[in-house]
Subunit: 347 residues, 2 copies
Amino acid sequence: MTETNRSWVLDSYPDGMPEAGNWRLEEAPRPTPGAGQVLARAIYLSVDPYMRGRISKAANYAAGVQLGEVMHGGAVAEIVESDHPDWKPGDLIETMGFGWREWAVLDPETTGPNGLRRVDPSLGPIHAYLSYLGMPGVTAWLAMQDIGRAKPGETVLVSAASGAVGQVVGQIAKDAGARAVAVASSADKLAWCEEIGFDAGVNYRERADDLADAVKEACPDGIDVFFDNTAGPIHDAAMKNLALGARIVICGMVSNAGTFDQPDMGERHLRRILVARARMEGFLIFDHMARWDEARRALAAMAADGRLKFKTDRLDGIKHMPQAFVNLLTSRNFGKQLVQAGPDPTA
Amino acid sequence: MTETNRSWVLDSYPDGMPEAGNWRLEEAPRPTPGAGQVLARAIYLSVDPYMRGRISKAANYAAGVQLGEVMHGGAVAEIVESDHPDWKPGDLIETMGFGWREWAVLDPETTGPNGLRRVDPSLGPIHAYLSYLGMPGVTAWLAMQDIGRAKPGETVLVSAASGAVGQVVGQIAKDAGARAVAVASSADKLAWCEEIGFDAGVNYRERADDLADAVKEACPDGIDVFFDNTAGPIHDAAMKNLALGARIVICGMVSNAGTFDQPDMGERHLRRILVARARMEGFLIFDHMARWDEARRALAAMAADGRLKFKTDRLDGIKHMPQAFVNLLTSRNFGKQLVQAGPDPTA
């Protein structure tokens, strides 16, 4: 990491599935913080499915990235210069408002997801603040508390189960005494899911032709909680296997990454929702910032006593950011996708 | 009404939209009650959209009607003979377990929807026990209490708004201080909706080509509560206009009556559910029998002080039952559809 600030700028909106060429790498001098600001250097950059929504012109829950603008994203970073009394050089932070770049000038008075959260290295590897101690973990925890509410003996089906949110959901389900069933794209991923406690798994690629039957085999009593990170064919297969009183968490739709700007055509499941008296609810962590610390404490406690294990997929070098994101959207990652942008002082 | 018992028996499963010819009229002698039973004569027979699900071989929330079996349905009836201490001749009852027939032997110990509920003529016309003081009204009340939860100033969109459930939903919404918007199939129906308090209306036939725009015009701040009795294109138009935190009650899907046994293909709205953090939930009154009286008391109070008005569409003679049902499924009724099968002692 140098005095130069490399950053990935959106060069074109993707036409369907994003490609690495939708971004271009720009170089600029390392910036200088103004009054009340801090300068931070990226250690780990986060790669998350929600970013697909930021590079579409379609209406979405957050303002999109403009052409020529630095791509939005979160990071774990180190404060290097500070003109703010609460922060000093060497402090470690996590923020969703960093961007795909090496250096960022940040305003510590910012609130919400783009605010600065202190990273405590004693709770786990600092990059865990981008996964099970950060946004994905907090999402999993609060959505299971508020919507999923798994009870002992119930069946919880998790799509993208080896992903950043899915791994945590499965272990929360097990912790609640429920049966956890993973849906993932490979035998390796399903083996990992089993290792962290999932009771059964469905390989959606291998069983693409009879996916609803495969889900039924894995969930013979039906699905009480469907934690949906993918939408698409996995969603359809799950909806055909709802138990009475099922709860469906709509958390992500990564399988639509290649068709994001088109209407999502397919089978609708309203009668299944009626017959099962099911509840389907959308969950976005941004509505629940006040409970972030509560959730993180619970997750740190699970990790501390071995109830929460986690796999990370890391690429080294900011040059890999676009490809890491494309890998995530096409299931080529295995575990939470990260890019290391600079040295980790705790490693 | 004679010593003969005419009843409508399912003759064939409909292929698509039901036709009157799917049933045949059978005659048998008036039956005799056994030990502990009562004999009741039908006064008003109910015609309801849920009956479509009873004549499909597809899995559903209640067992279907077998070929050759009397069609399922509710009625307001008069006890004529009784071998049960709680009931005497002349007592008026409502039950969902009557069937499309003139005379029925009933077991007063039956519980649940098919049990016998006492009709109090002082609360309204006795046929109201098939509409706003009965299953449709209780459905509207409890689903708005549990799922809709309309707050002052919110917008409540109701599909099939001049139907048995829809009329009540709109007036509950107004009573809660919300803005009520009707979707119906004709100017006459919308005029009635306005008369009972709806603030705006959408004619889905007139605006079939730009229904989402029509809904947007009627709901400029978005839809906070969507009470869906229809599914289909109205559902799609509503889902494109959700406000943040919208609640969607899945109560009926009458627009699918002609395609009931086929997958419901079309646009899926998962991203809209996520972006709006919306909650969609199926509601079936059968889960809430213990609260039936509580709901009816609330509805009777609304009717007593003029906050609840109601329109009924009545045909005279049991011979009209199949056609009355087909009329309902094709929006040819106007208000709650009933058939009068025998003299009303209170009229």
